[in-house]
Amino acid sequence: MLYSDHHHWLHAWLRKRLGNSFDAADIAHDTFVRILSKGKTALGDEPRALLTHIAKGLVIDHWRRLDVERAYAESVAHLPEAEAPSEEARLIIVEALMRIDAMLKAMPGKTREIFLLSQIEDLPYAAIAERLDISLITVNRHMRKAFIACMMAD
């Protein structure tokens, strides 16, 4: 009932936004999985509003994945073929990048900057304090906040 009542227009709605039927079908499917797995079989008074809300979130994730895949491809492009990660490694790395991206999004700007210096540039906390001209205590406070954000996002 849920599926047959709503699948058709949701697919059409998605196709219009994504411009292709393949991804629209995937995301329509995922939208229903999302709802059914939460045990919500009734959709309330505004079933379309709920479905489009969930679908929008999935569309944004989908676009993000395309961005992540592109960013990945660009960053391995200069590697000699022998050193390029295998297809399996690629899937793992892209998945990890998606999660790191979600973690970074959960941090305020200053915290993110300090976290990136530490975890990406491998700078010790004292060096970060010096580079940004802030106290070590401030670096510690931001790093703690960053790790908490990571754990909450993961």
């Binding site: 219009k16 936004r17 411009g19 292709n20 039927s21 393949f22 991804d23 929008k56 569309v59 944004i60 676009w63 395309l66 961005d67 992540v68 592109r70 960013a71 990945y72 491809a73 660009e74 960053s75 391995v76 492009a77 200069h78 073929e81 390029a84 990660p85 297809e87 399996e88 899937l91 793992i92 790395i93 998945e95 990890a96 990048l97 999660r99 790191i100 991206d101 979600a102 973690m103 970074l104 990136l116 530490s118 975890q119 990406i120 540039e121 491998d122 010790p124 906390y125 510690n140 790093m143 703690r144 790790f147 908490i148 990571c150 754990m151 909450m152 996002a153 993961d154």
Partner: protein, 320 residues
């Protein structure tokens, strides 16, 4: 991601303290003991620490050098894209399309993408026919002075149209490696691994690698590969089957099986692996790129191979 059970925020905070401590060097004897005691105090402590470990594993899963480049690449993407996307979700596409139709000479920019396994054909305002092959992305940037496509990923075929603009606007396709300028023409371009491949089917194009002062002209029937610094190898004869993908086909002529599978996997999601033992098998024939399951079935019928699929997204081709 949000499905994991909630963990006491106080324990998350304590786990963060330990992460920071370990981030600054290995734990010493007494500290190590204190940590073990903390972690085994209750199952909730252990669960908080597993969450912390999962974070570090996620970060560690991306090799150091890639991590920086990829994340910086993403930040740039954010600046360019987020607003236009939110707008796309808010506004129905037909409206946006009509706006563009009415203001053809204004600067505008659009993303066109295809999913893996999909092809898309469209006619641009100047009458140019653009076909996107699988997993491709193009920005279309037409202005009063030029018609420019940015080929961001994948492969396209361009058949330039007769521009109705009152004055001449060059038609240019740009990749990260350089530009290709159409000289009234039909051609295909593909970007892969920091290289751009061009094959000219009609008339001619002019290639200009980004960091080279030399432009190279390619005529009909010719193909070339270039990177950011210049041509890679010489101008060569275009493959007779160049551009046949536009009709949903791939032609193999005495091609090693792994090469054919690599080509097929461009049109499929997931992993398609080939047993290295099979690299001496050679294949000739026309294969459908729009129904790659069928193509794989043909291989299984005609070659001494077995197709094993664990899931639709994980397939191996082994010796039968």
């Amino acid at each position: 991601m949000k499905s994991t059970p909630a963990i006491d925020p106080i324990l998350i905070g304590e786990a963060a303290d330990w992460l920071m401590r370990m981030d600054q060097g290995a734990l010493h004897g007494a500290e190590q003991l204190a940590f073990e005691r903390w972690r085994s105090r209750t199952p909730a402590h252990a669960a908080a620490w597993r969450r912390a470990e999962s974070v570090m594993q996620t970060i560690g899963a991306v090799p150091g050098e890639l991590r920086g480049n990829a994340l910086r690449g993403l930040e740039n993407t954010d600046r360019r894209r987020v607003l236009s996307r939110l707008a796309m979700l808010a506004v129905a596409t037909p409206t946006a399309w009509m706006l563009y139709r009415e203001l053809p000479w204004r600067d505008w920019s659009a993303d066109v993408r295809t999913a893996t396994g999909e092809q898309k054909r469209m006619t641009l305002v100047d009458g140019t026919e653009l076909v996107l092959n699988t997993a491709s992305a193009v920005d279309i940037v037409f202005s009063a002075d030029e018609r420019r496509l940015r080929l961001l990923a994948g492969e396209i075929m361009v058949t330039t149209g007769k521009d109705p603009s009152p004055h001449y606007r060059p038609f240019i396709v740009e990749t990260s490696q350089g530009t290709v300028r159409a000289l009234g023409t039909r051609f295909t371009m593909r970007v892969e691994q920091a290289q751009t491949q061009v094959a000219v089917l009609e008339h001619a194009v002019e290639i200009k690698p980004l960091r080279s002062d030399r432009a190279t002209r390619l005529d009909a029937g010719q193909a070339a590969l270039f990177n950011i610094d210049g041509l890679v190898g010489d101008v060569r004869a275009a493959d007779a089957a160049a551009g046949i993908w536009e009709r949903g086909l791939f032609l193999a002529q005495n091609l090693p099986l792994p090469d054919l599978l690599a080509e097929i996997s461009r049109y499929r999601r997931g992993v398609l692996r080939c047993d290295p033992q099979l690299s001496r098998l050679r294949v000739s024939g026309a294969f459908s790129v729009t129904d790659t399951d069928a193509a794989l079935r043909v291989l299984e019928r005609t070659l001494p191979v077995r197709i094993n699929s664990f899931t639709r997204y994980w397939i191996t081709v082994d010796a039968a």
